[in-house]
Amino acid sequence: MNNEQSKIAYINNEPFKVQGDETILHFLKRYMGDNPVPTLCDAPNLKPFGSCRVCSVEVALEQDGLTKVQASCHTPVMADSFIYTHTHKIEKLRKNIVELVLTDYPADKFETDNPNTNELKKVALDLNITPDDVRYAPGANHLNRSVDEDHSYMRSDLAACINCYRCIRACDEVQGEMVLTMAGRGFENTVIMGMNEGFKNSDCVSCGACSQACPTGAITDVFNSKTNEVVETTRTICTYCGVGCNLDVAVKDNEVISITAPYDAEVNQGHTCLKGRYAFKFYNHPERLRSPLIKRNGKFKEVSWEEVYDFIVDKLTTIKSENGPDAIAGISSARCTNEENYLMQKFIRAVVGTNNIDGCARVCHSPTALGMQRAFGTGAATNSIIDLNYTNCMLVIGANPTAAHPVTGAKLKQAAMKGTTLIVVDPRETVLARYADYHLQLRPGTNVALLNMMLYYIIKENVQDDDFIDNRTEGFEDFKSQILALDMDKMAEITGVDKDLVRNAAVAYAKAKNAMSFHGLGVTEHSQGTFTVQLIADLALITGNIGRRGVGVNPLRGQNNVQGSADMGVQPHQGAGYLDITQEEVQNIYTDFYKVEMPKEVGYKIPEMFDAALEGKLKALWIIGEDVVQTDPNTTKVKKALNSLDLFIVQELFMTETAMLADVVLPGASFLEKSGTFTNGERRVQRVNATVLPIEGTKVDGQIIIDVMNRMGYAQPAYNAKEMLEEISQIVPFFKGITWERLGTNGLQWPVAEDGSDTEIIHLEEFKRGKGKFSYFDWKETEEIIENGEKYPYIITTNRELEHYNCGAMTRRTGNVDIITEDVLLINAQDAADKNIKEGEMVCVTSARGKVDIKAKISKEVKPGVMSTTFHFPEIMVNLITSDVHDSEAKCPEYKVVAVNIRKSKGKFANA
């Protein structure tokens, strides 16, 4: 009988049940614990490889019978076999192999290696062998290999390399970058980077997977992440993107010394990117703000916390009494914890008494929240990233996850490399586009037209899911007739994409057994952003790709806690838990809970705050952790608006472009210095744990808000993550079952029921709103092009670099700045030639708003007529030229379509 239930094998003559086709090593681990036999080449997140052979065991077909030696890491367990793990023969084999390894390992290094961090030393000591026991005469060796110390982070000292291939496999199997390989053959095999050019000159993306994989520290990093003397390790969540990587932060003497990625993290499985792993040194950078500041006579002066609180409370109270609460607004931070975001919106609503609260989601994914709420009833990802393991087709629209969401990006790339169908809709030839089966390289600003084409062909080719449409959706017939009325030749002309290519991609998406879509800011940051999100939802509805594993609509959330900030009510129209604040019963709920009368009018969205400030209606603004001057569009206008405020409070880590304009600066704390929760892009609420005390002079942001709340007469207990979460779970419906304890190490995905059960996939049986709603939208040229297209015939679309994060306030204060040192303009060779611009020359880019000088990088990534750049560096201030056209529905700015003209720069940087 080949019955799985009955499959048994024996470990040292004791019977155990075998699981499927598991390897012997896996089998042994399940019954003997983590290290049942030694190994040097096996690692938790790598495939079995079989190079070190130290994990070998003896296997017999009968008890104490004739045995065969097999490497346990890659040999499946045979039913009824007898596995012997520590026989004399095996122990001798292991010792003899390690002896061979030690013939080519630096003895002096072995002496100082720490067996807790050096796996070779640990295995050797366990086998009772040291370099002194080596019996071979000295011979060929690689003890004089040179050391590579050129890179900003990565280090190698290959004299200590034992050729286990772990680093190479990590670069391939985990990151998918393939920067590392062996060169040569046999004993002369050497790990090399790129074309044998060291880390710095290779295409290394500094993810550190190799460093974490190395058993001996032959490949490591400037922090010696794996081999340093760790006193204490705290697990927390990364502060950068919305992937939500778990990090193990190593601390010594209240100082963070290195970061690694835990293997048991469900989100990142032992992996993370250079931002999560290496870009942490900003937290104690000399430029950290270390005292509250008040600007007097145009100059900042350090003041005490008491003084600054008195100043703020006095000013706010005056403004409120003179101009009413609606003259005050707050912008909360997606970088802060759920608890802090909850507090900030509570402060604005319950203490100040206005709904003028908004967050950075406004300028990134507000159209996603709105569009998905309209189509499905919930403005969050329908599925989880783990669903990549179950999908057959990935549709990536307007997103560049290998740079902006590196761990998810790596997973998408891995799936594409292994053959999962990939469709990329993007004006740029991103990394993923190169691996795509279909790259629909459309003109920026034509998403709606392109998605309409896809929907047209799905109907036309009759590959829609009729059952799903009939049972779970509404509005299809109207939608269908409007779609079918479209002229595909005209759409093809508008988008600049061949219609047959669109048809083939659409059919591939529709016919895939399970298809997932992912989208980013290339969808939302458009005048038709919300409509585009609704069309993406249409695609999922028409093909029935909702409500099971491997499907769904999955926005890639930009900031670590942008999902959470909206969940917590950092929106002018919805309170904590997305309850509509214009509804009386909702107002009553909040009133009962906060014990104060609630404001009833929808408040200002961020762009409306600037308009109101310019009009003199908004007098005071408190911004936490958001550099609107550098990152919001049309910088000149933003500055003017901020300068017209009576009170401008900025709570920050650094003196950003925005903070410079403030009347009051409050020094907040970084993620490493506080506790709370972040919610990632797959609705996963995870525990953030303070790893060090706040830098002297700074305070945890939540405590700052609470201090002001109390001083303004609202009693709020001191900041405590666990207690705050308790309060939140009482008011946010989908947090009902969340407690600090239940979140455990891997968090919970909301909605979380009272019993603590969470939700990987939403809309399983029915949508939050009942039926999924089809909506049709005509493509409309953006006002930016209509008004300025003639005078400014090129289009700039903004993007992100892997190495930097948003305004760069953090990453520019880490080693990342040595890898990418400036913003550049990606320009097609043809456009460059037309304007006589050469690689590296300064280009003057003008728009209807202003001009910037920026260095040209000639690139195949963009088509003629389209250019691309980043806004990580204040030296360039790219947002001087971006437009303040906004999404018609959610008011998200249109960063992705900027009409510009270019010429070779005549300015002072011309020869730079």
Binding site: C52, D172, M182, G184, R185, M195
Partner: protein, 546 residues
Amino acid sequence: MSENLRKLSGRKGLDNNLFEQLVNSSKAEGTPTDEKLKDLAWEYLMGNANTYGAGSFYDFLKKENKGKKAYVCNGSACLVADTQEKVTETLAKNFSKDEIGEMCCMGRCHENSAFNVRGRNYSGMAINNLKKILSSEVSGLEKYNVAANVSNPVLTGTPLNAESFKALFVKADAMGVKNILNEIDNANVRGRGGAGFSMGFKWESCRITESDQKFIVCNADEGDPGAYSDRYLLEVQPYSVLFGIMMAGLVVGADRGVVYLRAEYSEAINITQLAIDELTRIGMNGTNIGGTGFDFTFKIIEGAGAYVCGEETALLSSIEGQRPEVRVRPPYPTQEGLFGKPTIVNNVETLATVPWILENGGEAYANFGTQKSTGTKLVCLDSFFNKPGMYEIEMGTPLSTIVEEFGGGFKSEVKALHIGGPLGGIIPTHKISDLELDFESFQKQGFLLGHASVVSIPKEFSMVKYIEHLFEFTAVESCGKCFPCSIGSVRGKEMFANAQQGEPINQELLDDLLETMEIGSLCALGGGLPLGVKNALQYFKEEIIK
């Protein structure tokens, strides 16, 4: 082995093959330029490291091969025949030191003095005519005996030609897949590459694996010094080999057949390609073979100098343009082989039996030989025999018959025969009478039939030096993946090199090393080497342990 690289390479597959591009780009200068390596990496969506790393593995792609114009064979047979010093000296008069490289082995073991210039192999007396060879197109003519001890030879009879290939295909097609497989099963052919694995079982296991695509790969990477039987088949009986490949394709449902042919056999490459071209001409290669609707296309992939590519998983990685490092099994190639698709990898000699079996029936084949080792086996005899050559011998034939009757005895005194390549056993001459030519007899006596090549070790040749040569061969050819083989072979070589300098061998350490390699290695290269060394220790101990 990287699943990613395998799949990325598979996107372009065989038609625009990465490895072929690497090989072709090395032709001009002996190594691909860095620019070319980068372009290929970009084209195949890989890292620069991947093309660079793959190139650095092979003798004829690595940077050190740049500018090489002549190669000297350094195989075992030429070594023991002591002919290569003169060859090298003669070449050095016409080429600079940097222009002369080494090759292992050219399969000219029957007359030695083997070298390669202008892409052709020469041997025997040719070195005396080097000037003439270099100034004109003198072909690499060689002479060796061919004979069989059966009346209706399986492998050395009248060669198939394109027309008889076609006729036999028509016959086979009429038989149908089931009957073909039956005949193969009845014949009970065991793989001739060395492992002796059942051909029918392999075909059946690939046949029942479901896949949109399958491949047949003929392992023509005959790297064992001393062996030249596959070379004979490819040069003289190419249609038989190709027919075997096509039948495998017909049986398992594959439409592509690859001959992975080592670069050292340039003549075999040319002749096999001519045969394929001829098949194309008569409609026996490509789509709709013989109007039956069966599609099958042959392709030769030329190797680039790496013995380990004879190991089937390394061979598959090689075709994929990856570094040919041995993969762990499972999955087996019949489940996940070339580009991740079910693949049959069979040796040249194994496949070449197919035409005869379909002509005469599997039973007739099984009537040859012993019960467990059916059929005939090609045996290569080196230049120490009075009648060097390649003989088709019925399995079960006494080894002494081969030595005495076919080989005609030795020219000079020989103390041992190294049979089955570098990983085979070392048989002292007094044991010849105890052996019969079959898998079981060799195994029982503590030896290995392998590919059945015979290298004679002359009386005066130092056994210590010979073992050093075996360790060195393994050290040079080891893929470097598993620790016992990659480090162990070097330490073994050093031990025997030191012994020649008067450093006594520590037998306990040597025994430990041999056991470590034998039971610890990932593949037969590191795992197989100890057999011969242990034989030598048993029969020539006084020479080794002093």
